[in-house]
């Protein structure tokens, strides 16, 4: 059997940053998995993602959230970025795992699954990227609401190749 699940690249922030980018992503895998462990410089705001530098209104998402006392679900359509996590602490790290399924095919829109958690909630996201189907070769992790990713936050991109 073919061994797979390869680490492609890792970033550990040496200084606070509003963005993290993985570019020139090979199309030789089937799925991409992005794992992040982050501390923010503010207790509000969120973490988003753009694919192939597309900032048009081609993204939409549905999420499921549990905050320790209640569960909720919401969605947003025609967004300019995918949503993968939000933060509510400047001290407690939050984490996320985002799966970009069949990222390199040129037939289907791309659907992403994310699980994220922090000291205040646990989340599951499904995101859709509706740009004319193309292989994903760049991921930009961006922030909103004045949120900045703090020093020491880590991001690792993995690739899985199906036989």
């Amino acid at each position: 059997m073919a061994k797979t699940y390869e680490p492609i690249a890792t970033t550990t922030l040496g200084s606070a940053s509003a963005t993290v980018t993985f570019s020139s992503i090979s199309s030789s895998y089937t799925d991409l998995i992005l794992v992040g462990n982050i501390v923010g410089q503010s207790a509000t705001g969120g973490l988003q993602m753009r694919l192939n530098s597309d900032s048009s209104s081609n993204y939409s998402y549905t999420f499921l959230n549990g905050d320790g006392s209640s569960a909720s679900s919401s969605r947003a359509s025609s967004q300019t970025e995918a949503s993968i996590s939000f933060s509510n602490s400047t001290t407690v790290p939050s984490s996320f795992i985002t799966q970009i399924m069949n990222y390199s095919n040129t037939t289907t829109f791309k659907t992403l699954l994310s699980r994220s958690s922090s000291n205040g909630n646990t989340l599951a996201y499904v995101n859709l990227w509706r740009k004319t189907p193309e292989a994903v070769n760049r991921i930009d992790i961006i922030t909103s609401g004045g949120y900045t990713i703090n020093t020491g936050s880590t991001f690792t991109l993995y690739g899985i190749k199906a036989a």
């Binding site: 699940y5 690249a9 090979s26 569960a71 679900s73 069949n102 499904v126």
Partner: protein, 182 residues
């Protein structure tokens, strides 16, 4: 912070773990089911990853193990549909259901749902098998995301996995890959 991966991995990466690709099926025509059979018992866990588009809007996706269609399964689901959260459970049922078409077929043709299925300790002959699933689809105004768990009340080693829609077919280009984790 910019990572140029071509620069970072000019040489092939070598740190590959014990995660192996076993088999993949990508549909060239709409098909009722996808089956992985003859699964070796040499791994600790299995993972199935895939994209799916149903041909029927009123269908859910179902998993059975070892072609067992008896009432030997139980399942629980937690689903968010963009406005409400629903938790359901069913005992003594004939499958593990985990993905609702949810109008996907009437949406844009290029939209596919996705699912990641973990079958834990699948080859153990002393325990029942537990399955967990993360799945979802979004169609820019509709969709759902769900967490599911399933139980198969059998101590047999899992050698066959079958994915089937409750109605209609899995549409062309639906694709599922089976992986083994050591």
């Amino acid at each position: 912070m910019l990572n140029n991966i071509a620069a970072l991995v000019g040489a092939p990466t070598a740190a590959i773990g014990d995660y192996e690709s076993i088999s993949t099926t990508t549909l060239s025509t709409a098909t009722a089911s996808i089956t992985f059979s003859g699964i070796p018992s040499t791994y600790k866990h299995l993972q199935v990853r895939g994209i799916v588009r149903p041909t029927s809007n009123n269908a859910d996706m179902r998993l059975t193990l070892n072609s067992d269609t008896g009432s030997n399964y139980a399942r629980h689901r937690l689903i968010g549909n963009g406005s409400t959260v629903d938790a359901t459970g069913t005992a003594s049922t004939a499958f593990i259901g985990f993905f609702d078409a949810n109008g996907l077929q009437t949406g844009t043709a290029s939209v596919f749902g996705v699912a990641i299925i973990d079958i834990l300790d699948y080859a153990n002959t002393s325990k029942y098998k537990t399955v967990r699933i993360l799945s979802g689809n979004d169609n820019n105004g509709s969709g759902q995301v769900g967490l599911s768990s399933g139980l198969w009340q059998s101590t047999a080693a899992t050698t066959t996995l079958t994915l089937v829609m409750s109605a209609g077919n899995l549409d062309t280009y639906s694709s599922f890959a089976l992986y083994g984790i050591k």
